[in-house]
């Protein structure tokens, strides 16, 4: 499927009037309002916007973790909004790599074992060594999360996400808890993977400078897409400032 997705010329994601409402009546919160978006296969997009503007909500719906209240989400030829729970799980399993602000590693497994965890359910995964090598952690493979720094843990999370060579990488503030140097290393890994495996990559960030990495930058506010910029020249992660 990964291979098929790579060769499929249709947009990786296509949303039509996508909305998400929490609660109802006067207290209802509109996290997303009629979002129409196309994301091309292999594209690297950065999402910016104030807190509470709906970035995470969008990412979660695209990744099949959450459901829209109305509208459609398409992943290539499949409508995610029509899928049952079981199919969504399968969708995540086959196509999506997640990276979160708080790493979400399994504390009882070593770095290598955390990567192995997803390799066990992936079709044609990288070896754990390759994946950890890509994020520069080959030497710390047998350490438990509690024995790693925050940045190292986030790189393990990246390795875990890329090990199955996912069609899509969804990163929600992957550098939110990191300093410049470690943040740069994490972003370098993401850019490298996007290049090497043409994984469609969406990165949510509060750091406007990180936007220079993306092919396109989407500005969010109040549940809507305000503007979409296209970067003529993309900066390498090493040039970013914090």
């Amino acid at each position: 499927m990964t291979i098929a997705a790579e060769t499929d010329p249709s947009p990786a994601f296509h949303t039509i009037r996508l909305s998400k409402v929490y609660g109802d009546g006067p207290t209802a919160v509109h996290a997303l309002r009629d979002v129409d978006l196309d994301v091309a296969q292999g594209e690297l997009i950065v999402l910016l916007g104030p807190s509470g503007s709906g970035k995470s909500t969008l990412l979660n719906i695209l990744g099949g973790l959450d459901r829209a209240s109305s509208g459609e989400v398409w992943f290539h030829q499949t409508a995610l909004n029509a899928m049952r729970e079981r199919a969504l799980t399968d969708f995540r399993r086959r196509h999506i790599g997640f990276i979160f602000q708080f790493y979400n590693l399994i504390p009882s497994l070593t770095a290598r074992e955390n990567v192995d965890l997803v390799r066990e359910i992936a079709e044609d995964p990288l070896s754990a060594e390759e994946a950890l090598d890509l994020v520069g952690l080959a030497e710390r493979m047998d350490h438990f999360p509690a024995q790693l720094s925050g940045g190292e843990q986030q790189r393990v999370a990246v390795a875990r996400a890329i090990a199955k060579r996912p069609a899509v990488l969804l990163c929600d503030e992957p550098t939110g808890a990191l300093d410049l140097k470690t943040g740069v290393r994490v972003l370098e890994a993401l850019v490298e993977i996007n290049k090497r495996y043409r994984s469609t990559t969406l990165i949510v960030t509060h750091n406007a400078d990180v936007a220079r990495l993306g092919e396109r930058v989407i500005h969010f506010s109040d549940g809507r897409i305000r503007t979409i910029e296209t970067n003529a020249v993309r900066a390498p992660p090493s040039e970013l400032k914090w």
Binding site: S56, F98, N104, P107, S108, L109, L117, A146
Partner: protein, 792 residues
């Protein structure tokens, strides 16, 4: 101080208890089970003791009794003069064969004379219906209530009795109970067969005439003054009565009815301690798990409280209160259930023990004891968790908990871990990382298995006892006992009774056995070699021959005498010639029922200088001629009794089913509560701790089933580890309990019953499965997005 500052926390307390409701329910149910048994057995025991004491006092139950061959009435005056004897009554007592048309087999009765001058001064009767016999009318009689009920004998009915070889027709004028016969079983029978054996009271003159005992008596009963020296009075009585063929005065410990009551009270005591203790321990464990969990999740709250200046004591008290709340709920449940159980058990007791009234009532002290035990148990459970909360420094508590540092296994475990998939490795590492918690769960589940193993052992032991006693040891259909020993030649006549297929003689003597300073009164039985019907049982549960020389002792008897094979013991007849002799113990045998001594019949006859004399015969019958045999039996006056083995088996089985059987269902229900309680608590805690990991697994694309594997797998690994422990624990407890329940009447030996173990294991695992299945449903409701937003 504590009270003042605790107030704003009280609402939080209720919320906490509600939040921990699964734990609360588990603790309360487990406590409730334990305490209900406690209240039932302590209450029932107290009710029995009180009822017995009142009954004995109100109806002046005898302290001592002596039966003799015949003594003239004037001897009564000598007995009366014995110091410390408060009252004496002489009686005529004997046995009669009854012809009861409703039943095929002959029934028999114990006959007891009523004093000439009105009501008995000792062993007075509690009249249920009717009146006292008119001394002028020889045929008037009172019968015992159970017998009257079983045969539907009404006032005014006639009863045909063969007394001393002569046929009498009695008119029943009264129905009564007596403190002497609270528990009634025929001589030689363990359990009541109320339709085949009763007590009949008649006027002294009438009975004297029937037994040719005018101006004489053959039974004396005594009440002692308070503080009397039982032993001294007995010797004095024996001094007076020895010349009249007394077999020795004896106390309540050798009166069948009182002895059964005492055994019952003893068993209730055992029950009051064993099961409740078991459940209290589990409850303490569960409280520890639940509070440990709450305190772990409330670290920052604790930090805040302490930062705001709440004292350690106030914080400790706050958390201890929820544990106490669990305890109080459990104690209330247990109190209610205890009374319900107590009433149910009193219903069963009323069938066996004939008091004028027997009601279950548990005293305030019993309830107080139960509540105190509940509070102690939950407090012990709480103390360790609460201590941790109190110890937390405010700053430390406010900081996020240090992450659990996992470590890689080493050695064998590492090699094992390396071969596992990542999900199984999570399970393994968590167990390794939290060994105390894992141990708690294992012990809880093991205790549930142990309880079921014990519960399963009881019916197996009963079945074993019944099958050895009735299929290996005693294969006769009926045992006849003669009124007095007869020449062996009588066997010829016995063998010619209708329907008799084979017949074997036996001899039985009441003796005193002495070894060193130890002395036991028992029966010695003489059996023929190569017996096919009634046989001795060796330690392997198989039949063995009677000793070629010397005497064989039942294991319980040998233990009482501290005698083993090779030891020489002294044996003395208590009646007849009172022959005394020394004899060597040649073997220890294991009869399931009774604890007699055994010799071969020739040796026994020679020992007591009555060679060729026998006491009775065991017969096997042709079923087709059963009625003819019984018809003949009803007309055979020289018989003291006939014991029908199938009926004895039935009454024994009924007693076991009612006593042990009911308890057994209770055990199983309780074990289910225990297994379920432990499994639920463990599953809840595991779920709470793993919530984040489980959500992560779901986000990564693991299905619900795969995520459940981590949750359910952990529980099952612990449950499987608990299996061997539970089996061992159950076996040890079973052996210990069997020993506690052992009496002179039957010896239980724990038997390894694979079916019982299989059931215990399967049942407990099923409880764990159900608990984990229900908790597993939580995985379906996991808020993946929510969990990922939070820092760990």
């Amino acid at each position: 101080m504590v009270k003042l500052i605790a107030r704003p926390l009280d609402r939080k307390l209720l919320r906490d208890v509600w939040r921990m409701r699964i734990h609360a329910a588990a603790v309360a149910l487990v406590l409730g089970c334990g305490l209900s048994v406690y209240i039932m057995s302590v209450g029932m025991r107290a009710s029995l003791e009180r009822t017995r004491a009142d009954y004995y006092a109100d109806y002046r139950m005898m302290h001592l009794a002596a039966s003799l061959v015949r003594a003239p009435d004037r001897v009564a005056a000598d007995l009366e003069r014995i110091p410390e004897v408060a009252a004496i009554e002489t009686r005529i007592s004997g046995y009669a064969l009854l012809d009861v048309p409703q039943i095929v087999e002959p029934a028999s009765a114990r006959l007891i004379s009523l004093p000439l001058g009105g009501r008995p001064r000792i062993n007075d009767l509690a009249m249920v219906r009717g009146r006292w016999p008119d001394p002028a009318k020889a045929d008037e009689a009172i019968v015992s209530e159970a017998f009257a009920t079983a045969l539907d004998i009404r006032i005014g009915a006639n009863l045909a009795a063969t007394i001393h070889g002569r046929r009498h027709v009695l008119t029943i004028v009264g129905i009564a109970n007596s403190p002497e016969f609270v528990f009634v079983s025929a001589p030689g029978e363990l359990f009541p067969q109320p339709e085949r054996f009763g007590v009949v009271w008649m006027g002294r003159t009438a009975l004297a005439r029937a037994f040719d005992m005018s101006g004489a008596f053959n039974d004396a009963i005594f009440r002692l003054s308070p503080g009397a020296d039982d032993q001294r009075v007995r010797s004095a009585i024996d001094e007076v009565l020895r010349a009249f063929g007394s077999s020795g005065a004896y106390g309540r410990d050798r009166m069948m009815s009182d002895r059964f009551l005492s055994e019952e009270i003893k068993q209730l005591t055992t029950m009051a301690i064993f099961l409740p203790a078991f459940f209290l321990v589990i409850a303490a464990f569960l409280v520890n798990i639940a509070l440990g969990r709450v305190i772990a999740t409330e670290r920052s709250n604790i930090g805040l409280l302490k930062a705001f200046g709440y004292s350690d004591l106030a914080v400790a008290w706050h958390y201890a209160k929820s544990a106490l709340m669990f305890g109080l709920i459990g104690a209330s449940l247990g109190s209610i259930a205890g009374v319900v159980l107590g009433r149910a058990i009193a219903d069963i007791y009323r069938d066996y023990y004939h008091f004028p009234t027997l009601a279950f009532s548990a005293g305030l002290l019993t309830f107080a004891g139960a509540w105190a035990a509940a509070i102690v148990a939950v407090s012990i459970g709480a103390i360790f968790s609460v201590w941790r909360a109190v110890r937390l420094a405010p700053a430390e508590a406010l900081a996020p908990p240090r992450p659990a540092v996992y470590s890689r296994s080493s050695g064998m475990l590492a090699r094992f871990a390396a071969r596992l998939d990542a999900k199984s490795r999570i399970i393994l590492r968590r167990i390794q990382r939290f060994p105390r918690r894992a141990a708690t769960t294992i012990i809880g589940i093991a205790l549930a298995i142990a309880l079921l193993v014990v519960a399963g052992a009881f019916p197996a032991v009963m079945t074993q006892l019944l099958s050895v006693h009735f299929s290996v040891a005693n294969r006769q259909d009926v045992t006849l006992s003669f009124v007095a020993p007869r020449e062996i030649g009588v066997m010829h006549a016995v063998a010619h009774l209708p329907g008799v297929i084979s017949a074997e003689p036996f001899r039985a003597d009441d003796v005193v056995l002495r070894h060193g300073r130890l002395e036991v009164r028992e029966a010695v039985l003489g059996l023929p070699f190569n017996a096919r019907l009634s046989r001795l049982i060796g330690s392997d549960g198989q039949a063995v021959e009677p000793p070629v020389a010397g005497i064989a002792l039942a294991r319980a008897l040998a233990a009482k005498l501290h005698a083993g094979p090779g030891d020489e013991i002294e044996i003395e007849q208590v009646s007849g010639r009172r022959v005394q002799a020394r004899i060597r113990v040649s073997a220890i045998v294991d009869p399931m029922v009774g604890s007699s001594a055994y010799m071969n019949i020739e040796d026994l006859g020679r020992l007591f200088r009555e060679p060729g004399r026998i006491s009775g015969a065991h017969l096997s019958l042709d079923p087709a001629r059963y009625a003819a045999f019984n018809a003949q039996l009803k007309e055979t006056p020289a018989l003291a009794g006939a014991s029908f083995l199938r009926q004895a088996e039935r009454s024994m089985r009924r007693a076991f089913d009612e006593g042990v059987g009911v308890m057994n269902y209770l055990y199983i229900a309780f074990a289910a509560v225990m297994a379920g309680g432990v499994a639920f608590s463990a599953a809840r805690v595991t779920m709470a701790e793993q919530e984040r990991d489980l959500a992560t697994l779901r986000v990564l694309g693991f299905t619900r089933g795969e995520a459940s594997y981590v949750l359910v797998g952990e529980l099952f690994v612990l449950a499987l580890l608990a299996v061997p422990l539970g089996c061992v624990l159950g076996t040890v407890l079973g052996i210990w309990l069997m020993r506690l329940f052992q009496t002179d009447m039957y010896s239980f030996t724990f038997i390894f019953n694979p079916g019982g173990y299989a059931f215990a294991i399967a049942f407990t695992l099923a409880c764990v499965a159900i608990a984990s299945f229900i908790v597993r449903l939580g995985i379906d409701r996991l808020d993946m997005v929510g969990v990922l937003k939070a820092r760990d």
